[in-house]
Amino acid sequence: MLWLGTIIEGVLLGGLYALFAAGLSLVFGIMRLVNLAHGDLIVLAAFTILSLTTWLGFDPFLAALLAMPVMFAAGFALQYVLLNRTLGRDLLPPLLVTFGLSIVIQNGLLEAFTADSRRLRLGAIETASIDLGGNLAIGVMPLLTLGSAVAVILLLNLLFYRTALGRAFRATSDDLEIAQLMGIDHHRIYAIATGIAMLVATIAALYLGIRANFDPTIGPARLIYAFEAVIIGGLGSLWGTLAGGVIIGLAQTVGAKINPEWQILAGHIAFLAVVVLRPRGLFPRALD
């Protein structure tokens, strides 16, 4: 029963990691861009939500709802003005520009909000749980996190496979030149994709801030978990990303159960094991 609890906890934690990873996976799949600032952008979203709750006294959920269009616009602008210029055959510019951006965002947040740990407060629901009997209980917030992750992946898949925008996404991903010949403005498509990635990052930030303390320096670790989930799941597969998040979450909670110091290490080891055994991930859709 003790282990069942650990496994449930791991799967629910996986929901949070899938939310970290979904935006990264989307951008990855469409334009092969690895955004090293993704984790810091999640933290930026968390501070945006925090500011709205403290300045305007909003509830975190309402604040996140308001932060979403702001973050979408920020993502759109970031891609349109900065990142589109870095795309091309050379792999250095996108990597190094986003790496520089990561340092700028981290230190900008440190300057604005200091290094203090913050948290989004929700009241009683934070600690509420559903009793399953036999000493087993599921936290309401972790359950809501996993539910949101599934919903986000579902919606992204619908967008991807059922809408005109999704068709444009798939077309630019599959063959950029033909897509351009068909009249697709790929710069705009990319900007929308990054905007959507930031929308998802805002949802991730909401649950991140409610689950645990955050400060401006935790972005890179979130990026690494997200990246691990994407690679485990396989490039271009959003459901794969969800599975990847769950695997990282499971590995971490099981590792922590054995020895609390092994939590993060266990997640990394699971990732490296997949890299060695299945370097293209478990459910690859696109060829890189």
């Binding site: 690895v34 510019p93 996108p94 520089g100 110091e261």
Partner: protein
């Protein structure tokens, strides 16, 4: 008639003979500097030298072999911890331990490469970062080396370093300053050695293979270049050098902790900044980059976060508007190159 249309393969060696001579003079002068310079300057120069050596290493990996790593802190930290283990645990002289740390780091690099080489391009970058994190978390588990909080080198190790009595007698300084001077000489040797190492690698047939892979991996492979082995060779060589530099850094700091030794900011971000500003894919670039970096650090480091924001923004602007850095701009504009690694086709005049 046939003779005159034949192309000749040449590289600009003669023009650099003067440079080689002046470099030797410069290195000799720097080696003699501790006789007259104060301890502060010596410590600053140690920092400049090891940053330069790290930048040359990263540049060989990313600029020439296409292995854009964000995880070289794995080998800096590994070298540092090996130095501590070898000196405290095995009682080996620190100077010998610096060399040995490099060799052992190279041994670690081989299995590491088999994992990270599974990932390509941008995925390799984050994969190498994950591996560095694994190293950090594993070294935090060794209670003998201080666990998560770290440990210090005991004075018995640092004060009995090879040659310290001689330096104390020759320059008339006390033990801590004499230790700095010996560290300074090792740092100078590494800073002068890494550009030479890069130069000789690039001039060798492996260098030619690297250029071929960089221009087109598929074509290079079809011409018989073993891309995997060529890259593996560079990766292991760079790991050995980086391990030695890491050992040297922590010999000087005399205090190590997992978070500092495997820091992505100190040993990747700053190093990448140096290479980008100076000029990626050139041997001259890191030398210019480290001078710019030292100047910025010297005047602006007190501004803390604003300093880092400036560094990040400078790297972004450079990458967007002058992707070949300061040296790339200069050499393109004026056609100069100090290190003749390019092979040129020369058409002989009649």
């Amino acid at each position: 008639m046939m003779e005159s249309t034949r192309y000749r393969l040449a590289s600009n060696i003669r023009a650099s003979a003067f440079l080689a001579f002046s470099s030797i003079v410069l290195v000799l002068m720097l080696a003699a500097l501790p006789a007259v310079a104060g301890r502060g300057l010596i410590q600053d120069l140690i920092f400049v030298f090891y940053m330069l050596a790290l930048a040359q290493c990263w540049n060989l990996l990313a600029g020439y072999a296409g292995l854009v790593s964000v995880g070289q802190q794995a080998f800096v930290g590994l070298g540092g911890y090996l130095l501590f283990a070898l000196t405290i645990g095995a009682g080996i002289d620190p100077i010998a331990a610096v060399l040995l740390s490099g060799l052992i780091a190279a041994l670690f690099a081989v299995p590491t490469a088999f994992v990270v080489f599974r990932l390509r391009g941008p995925y390799f970058a984050i994969g190498s970062w994950v591996v560095a994190e694994v190293y950090r978390l594993v070294f935090a588990q060794f209670k003998q080396l201080g666990g998560g909080t770290g440990t210090s080198l005991p004075p018995s190790v640092t004060n009995e370093i090879f040659g310290i009595e001689w330096v104390k007698a020759a320059i008339a300084v006390r033990s801590p300053a004499a230790r700095d001077i010996i560290t300074y000489w090792i740092a100078l040797a590494l800073a002068a050695g890494t550009p030479l190492l890069v130069y000789f690698v690039l001039r060798s047939r492996h260098g030619l293979a690297l250029f071929a892979i960089r221009d087109s991996e598929a074509t290079a492979e079809s011409a018989g270049v073993d891309s995997f082995r060529t890259k593996l060779g560079v990766y292991v060589l760079v790991a050995a050098a980086t391990g030695m530099i890491g050992a040297l850094i922590y010999l000087q700091k005399a205090r190590i902790s997992p978070d500092a030794a495997f820091s992505v900011l100190d040993w990747s971000a700053y190093v990448i900044f140096v290479v980008i500003i100076g000029g990626v894919g050139t041997i001259e670039g890191p030398i210019i980059g480290v001078i710019v970096f030292y100047a910025l650090q010297h005047y602006l480091a007190d501004f803390g976060t604003w300093y880092l924001i400036l560094l990040g923004a400078l790297a972004i602007v450079t990458m967007l508007f002058a992707p070949k850095g300061i040296w790339g701009y200069v050499s393109q504009r004026y056609g100069v190159a100090l290190f003749p690694v390019r092979r040129m086709l020369i058409r002989p005049h009649e």
